[in-house]
Symmetry: C2
Subunit: 235 residues, 2 copies
DNA sequence: TAGTGGTCTAGACCACTGA
DNA sequence: CAGTGGTCTAGACCACTAT
């Protein structure tokens, strides 16, 4: 039997989790305050604080000044999805990466794009269509709009060499992004470039990125039938 | 002009992020050590540590003892998806929640389920099929296998009253989970219960949860056409 | 007003790892 | 060996909020 180590914040966190899982501390119930826990565990309040703060960040505890700490009633599970550069994703799977630019034009975006980017006055944007390949077969279709108002430099880049996916990540820092995932049927374009049967169910990932208040880019990534997004979760 | 507050860990974090975004500190480059930064910002090393530690947790910095702190070369973007209880999800959208159990049997699981749960010797499991409703219309179809070896209690629960989604979350704590998302065509069952056209593209979410080494449940949630999973990302 | 968590400080020791 | 981050401590003050 190894004794749990209550002189480390991780040891304390493990013990707190154990008490929550075994219902010693039930959902919704208040747990002792930091001072009392510090005394029980024989450590400084700071150490208890570190352990509990992280659990609160993870949504397992709810803390309020003055009213104390409670076990969250409905611990919302959170799944973290890694969104690597596509080249990296393919190479990590042990495949050879390929890339092909299909079209590259400056156009007035459709209202869907203006809505997503929150651009009220439609101005021409850079519209790119490209396909990413793994070992020569289509891995993902990338349909991207770049707001030249925010990223004027993009006008001078040769996107037949660099994929916009990489160029933007490496050259245009963003402050925040929105992402949504939906299932959509393959249309003629996707039949052509992904080799998908007509109306096959495809996973589609839409992402909008921002630089402070300024919209940077709206991208739709479309994956062939059967593609899975994976993630792990802690409970 | 409001002066940044270098006496708070958040102020320091903002400044560090600013330097990374503006390429003052370039990807891959080493940044000053904690002592020097503390001196520059006029605060305690602990405060700098708190700011940098969180950025390292987020994958923006890479830290190693003795060799120091570097800006991550390929900051993998991470999207966090909240996975609430379905009732909660519906009620937060302002809808009325409904639930209907469609079938409830003890069966030997197909190999797909055994594979996902890593159960080598196939033993009968509890197999549930249910539909969640928002304002009377189908919101999600739930196809669930519960490992009675890990959760024998489940045998005595009336799942026509409690949804397994809620009962498990409230009564069976898990330690970790795997999740995957895929697009799949509507089959006959989904046409019936979700009201989806034949072969319509549906978003499907598979989740496996574990209690330490023991598999708890394998659930597939299938959503009607057009359903979106959303998330925000920090960059 | 009083009790709780949130944070900062100054100092200390430790764990890891490159030279 | 020495320099770096990782952590703990004891104490302090502050911010919020239930009473």
């Amino acid at each position: 039997m190894s004794q749990p180590d209550f002189n480390s914040w991780q040891g304390i966190q493990d013990e707190v989790l154990r008490r929550i899982r075994t219902r010693v501390w039930k959902p919704g119930a208040q747990i002792p305050n930091e001072m009392d826990l510090a005394q029980e565990f024989g450590c400084a309040r700071t150490t208890v604080n570190r352990a509990l703060r992280q659990l609160a960040d993870d949504g397992i505890l709810e803390r309020k000044r003055r009213s104390g700490t409670r076990v969250a009633l409905h611990p919302v599970a959170k799944a973290v999805i890694d969104i690597p550069i596509i080249r990296t994703e393919i190479e990590e799977r042990g495949g050879a990466y390929g890339y092909q630019l299909l079209s590259n034009e400056i156009e007035t975006p459709p209202s869907k794009v203006n809505f997503a980017l929150n651009t009220s006055k439609p101005e021409p944007m850079l519209h790119l269509l490209a396909v990413h390949l793994m070992d020569g077969t289509p891995y993902a279709l990338e349909d991207r709009w770049i707001n030249l108002g925010t990223v004027p430099l993009a006008q001078d880049v040769d996107f037949s060499v660099h994929s916009a996916n990489e160029w933007l990540l490496e050259n245009v820092p963003y402050t925040h992004a929105h992402l949504s995932i939906v299932a959509a049927p393959a249309n003629a374009r996707e039949q052509d470039y992904l080799g998908a049967p007509a109306d096959a169910p495809l996973l589609q990932m839409d992402r909008v990125t921002w630089q402070n208040q300024d919209p940077v880019t709206f991208v739709t990534l479309i994956y062939p039938p059967g593609y899975r997004i994976r993630s792990q979760t802690s409970g």
